[in-house]
Subunit: 292 residues, 2 copies
């Protein structure tokens, strides 16, 4: 009897890490589909998948699970170009950082195909298969945004795959809520990091930077093409969050400039208390991951 | 012959860590001066100093080195109140995060006292002697801002003390330059962290946060009273930096809202290249710490 097949399309940092993490999962063969010779050679050398191929089209009709690991435009184009090739009854998912736009693109799929948007909340400040590792997902969040056709069997399968990859938990939510949250927790952090690095003092500040500077700017070494897609595909939610941030930073500056110590102290105490509270809730870990 | 004496005034996180790190340094006795019974008991239990006392006034005339580890207002008040008690020829330094205001306050000292502003670029998001450890300074920067009366002997002594505490390097600069740099690399990071935590989504975002969010907001659990002092004592430099940050964040938001992908990609590539460049320079480590 033939083994079931997981096809991972795109072996960049996330795709190759996922492909490595998934090896040995139940009775599935893990196949990695690549486009470049260089990635092919590295994937084979690194044993990033049970099998590596250039021909995703030939693999699709036999794939029980397809995980799209390109950038958002790549995923959207792949869905459009391959919509007739998926195996009826298969599970298709993706791993990119915006969900509304991808879920909308997945509406082009036949009814027999179950698309579930996924977002592993893991990453590194470096990209590509060279930096991939099978342990990348340990104790990170795995967010899933099931569509209206999502079956309990496929959701259960995703939970088992997430367990196998050692994700810390699986969060189910809607694509819209995901995009609002991610605008806040991830995309805005990247806007902040690049804005800080644009300051003319960046190169003269060495010797004066501590942990807070290194932490805040870590993610600035991003992939410009991919983050341009992520930001613009989620423009309304991101713009709202950034606008609120600008207003709040401006309030702090006003209090500092006017030497209004009492207001400043009250503002800082408020924020500090909130942060301490969230640290406590996270440490307690009970009921911290409600279903949305 | 009596041992020489280092008096550490204030055994909070930095003071107690420094006092612990300095024990065994050359032929010095390390004495910790505290105000509260609770800190006294903890310091004794933790052996945070060779000797702990409530009576700084009695220790000052015999102290060869005095390290002021209170908050900025505490340091400034201590200099004013104890100016006549310091031993002629002694070295007085501090550890706080603003230097111009402290150096100005130190002008009240007699000519026989050598004040050198210091700033160990180390910390934690928690404070107090409970969290102190002698290894806190390993591989961090030790910034010194010598005044006009600083002697080569005292500077050399500070270098040897920094070596003993395992600081990564010693950076000499002016108080003004220190305050400009710290506004950028440290204070602005704290303004960002608290501004992010003020967002109403903070408590609903759990499950959606990755490394970038945890890193950026880590320092938000700050001490409101101390940071009110640090921000307002350095208002002009901090205000300038924050204002530039606001402008740059606004430019990103404008590009995102107008769906101007080409501009956005160019901006992101510019910032990302700068960050990669600085990572390289830091990794290379040659000539990265020029004297200012």
């Amino acid at each position: 009897m033939e083994r079931k097949r997981i096809l991972v399309v795109g072996l960049g940092l996330i795709g190759a890490s996922l492909s490595m993490a998934l090896q040995g999962f139940e009775d599935y063969e893990v196949v990695g589909a690549v486009r470049s010779r260089s990635t092919y050679d590295k994937a084979v050398a690194k044993r990033a998948a049970d099998r590596v191929t250039f021909d995703h089209a030939a693999e699709l009709p036999g794939a029980d699970v397809v995980i799209l690991c390109q950038d958002p435009a790549g995923i959207i184009g792949f869905l459009r170009d391959n919509r007739e090739r998926f195996k009826p009854g298969c599970l298709v998912c993706d791993v990119c950082g915006v969900k509304t736009a991808v879920m909308r693109a997945a509406e082009c799929l036949p009814d027999s195909v179950d698309f579930i948007g996924c977002h592993p909340m893991a990453g590194k400040e470096v990209s590509g298969i060279d930096n991939a590792e099978g342990t990348l997902f340990r104790n990170t969040h795995f967010i899933v945004t099931p569509g209206p056709r999502a079956t309990p069997e496929h959701l259960d399968l995703l939970h088992r795959m997430a367990d196998w990859c050692q994700f810390g938990d699986v969060i189910e939510t809607t694509p819209e809520r995901h995009d609002e949250m991610i605008a806040y927790t991830s995309q805005m952090m990247h806007v902040i990091a690049v804005s800080v690095c644009d300051n003319e003092e960046l190169f003269s500040c060495m010797g004066f930077e501590g942990g807070s500077f290194r932490d805040c700017t870590r993610v600035a070494a991003l992939d410009p093409a991919m983050w341009t897609q992520l930001f613009t595909l989620n423009a309304p939610a991101l713009s709202k969050m950034v606008s609120e941030l600008e207003a709040r930073i401006h309030q702090y500056r006003t209090a500092i400039e006017s030497n209004d110590r009492e207001t400043l102290r009250t503002m800082l105490a408020h924020a500090s208390d909130r942060k301490k509270q969230i640290n406590l809730e996270r440490a307690r870990g009970d009921d911290v991951h409600p279903k949305f």
